[in-house]
Symmetry: none
Subunit: 209 residues, 4 copies
DNA sequence: AAATAAACGAGACGGTACGTCTAGTCTTGAT
DNA sequence: ATCAAGACTAGACGTACCGTCTCGTTTATTT
């Protein structure tokens, strides 16, 4: 996330410190771990980053935008190793995602910024572009593999393919988030297996529509 | 919501005003609609309810607990009218739930209190008992009906039945919440149909297992 | 200076703490001594007084008003002991006033609030009522004594008497302040003698008008 | 005001802009008129002068020194036209001085820098040399004229002459400043007449000593 | 009827974060 | 070495809100 808010006159004057950018994001993650979202303050982040509050506000207008940028990078660590079958691939990504949501930075921050975003379109867009859209790649990759294996048919239209990917993303991410944060129950291997099985075979247990 | 925090000596002295209880919850929902979670203040709620701040804090220790109670009652309005098939029943509850999440009170408050609860076990418990557990009734009822219709088999063990209900609840609620609040896309009839179809038949379209 | 700014509804609610009033004024004088006017901050005064900033701002809207009230009481310590002659009485009060202006609280604060008052009529009025008008008593007393001793004639009209007192006050206070703070030279016994002599006898050395 | 702070190596590199010097002082006076001392900011002065803040700080180390220099030149406009008698000469200079103190630049700035100077010896010296000492010329000139007219005796020793001039300067300037800024009453012709009369004849009305 | 006990409205209290502002310094590229 | 531009550190500003407290008052139950 190097240049979060581009300055209007990029030529003249002293350039912005890239070191400050990085230090602030690191400090934000640290503060999230130690304090959690509600006790994280801009002043504290500045102090941790060894930076003046002005420097922080010059880049991020609000706490929520700063936190989105600080946390987004963690989501990029998610991977989809080929485990041989659709079922096992989904199961793997579910557990990875659950582990990510167990990290104190993300656990405390994700729902908070989403909550904030319900009243702030700019923040909503930032969440979408920095987190949501980027992670759909996992769904696309998983489907490609399953199609190559013959586990799933090839989509008939690209429009429908995109819609399906969105749906599957909401179902997987939504279920894990809801289990982990709302129901506040562990997302362990057993749950992942049950969920994956349900997702692949359906409520009817694969006995038809 | 009956008296939320029972006083220690319930016999003597002036009894608590039931009118205040109600006025506070109404005022809280009003404030949520107008201001949203982050700008809702205890002082403002007290002013709207025509009540002193003391009266408010005598009943709810924190802003988040007040909001949970104020919002929980809205979830009790969810119903599961018998529409003749499992598919249509799920579709109906999905749309109802989506409509509820479109209301400004719930939209702004639900994720906020969940976010807060990641660091506050008491709040987590309050959310679970006031919202999560109460709404699982919809899953249980839906399953009973489907079993009666022969659309679903009867569970073999009560333990497994409970686990399955939890799972299904997380999947349905999670998908809708994620679609509506995180992806910030509309939960319309088309999406509800696709989602229901996926849920009932699975990724494999009913051919798998 | 107990009630600096009267609250609008004096009956209801928790009454203001008189202890806070006193602690704040003491803390202000301490801070003036240690830091001087320009480095005195509202937050620091609050900290010293063991009081929240809110409590301070509830009573004094601006730093300058607080300082006027904190310093005014020091001026009330000025006295006019009867030393037997007009010349010696004036000399005595000049030295007392000079000693007061040497104290770090007053030295650093007096000119600062006067400077501020050039743009703030309310502050100007506060200075006038809290300091200027109260100290004119010294001129009035000194004149009475001199008249009783036959050193000065009785005034013909009360209006003229008031005007003369104002004039003499401005001359004495002005000269001492200018010598001490603007010229920044010591106001010692020798200077006090010269000044008194000039004041009583005039430039012409008493040889006529 | 020639270059206020001489650079260490006056030979090499780009020479300082004399236009900047002038523009800064003009801008400072403008800002004083519009905003007054407390709201005058270095950034604003720089903007008004069309100059970078660096350029400003290269010449004046602190806001107060800049203001002293900007204001000092106004005091040089004071004159002592020969009005024929000591009494009338003093009266004239009193009214001129009062008019100067009525100008918003000086009214707001003079007491402010004096206040600042109570804790800053360098500033005190700058005020003394740029304002106080320069204006003593008026006292010296007035005395010479009065001596030539035979209204005042010639001093016996030059040391005593200097002391007397200092005293008279403090009395005149102090009285006018105190009347105008502390008592905040108008210095009009009537007051000037009363004051001059007191100064020349003394409290005893010329009968004393 | 009087006494007791808790609830009530009002608003002051300590504490703390907010986001803005200014002082004065530093870093860039251009003159 | 100067300049304009603008980022930088440091820290005060005055406001807002939280959750607690201290008043005087009200309303019930218990004596």
């Amino acid at each position: 996330m190097p240049p979060p808010a581009t300055p209007p006159h990029p030529r003249t004057g002293r350039p912005r410190s890239a070191a400050a950018d990085a230090a602030i994001l690191v400090a934000t993650r640290e503060a999230l771990v130690e304090l959690g979202w509600p006790k994280l303050t801009m002043g504290d982040v500045a102090r941790r980053a060894g930076v003046a509050k002005t420097t922080l506000y010059r880049r991020w207008a609000h706490k929520s935008e700063l936190v989105v940028d600080a946390v987004a990078v963690l989501f990029d660590e998610l991977e989809l190793p080929d485990r041989g079958s659709l079922l096992e691939d989904v199961q793997g990504v579910v557990l990875q995602f659950a582990a990510l949501l167990e990290r104190p930075e993300t656990k405390t921050a994700l729902m908070a910024v989403v909550a904030e975003s319900t009243r702030d379109p700019a923040l909503r867009e930032r969440i979408r572009s920095a987190i949501v859209e980027r992670q759909k790649r996992l769904v696309l990759l998983g489907r490609e593999r399953a199609q190559a294996r013959g586990e799933l048919p090839y989509e008939e239209s690209p429009v429908q393919a995109a819609r399906d990917a969105d749906l599957i993303f909401d179902v997987i991410a939504g279920a894990v988030v809801h289990r982990a944060l709302v129901s506040a129950e562990p997302v362990d291997e057993a749950w992942a297996r049950s969920f994956t099985s349900l997702l692949v075979s359906g409520l009817g247990g694969g006995r038809g529509r």
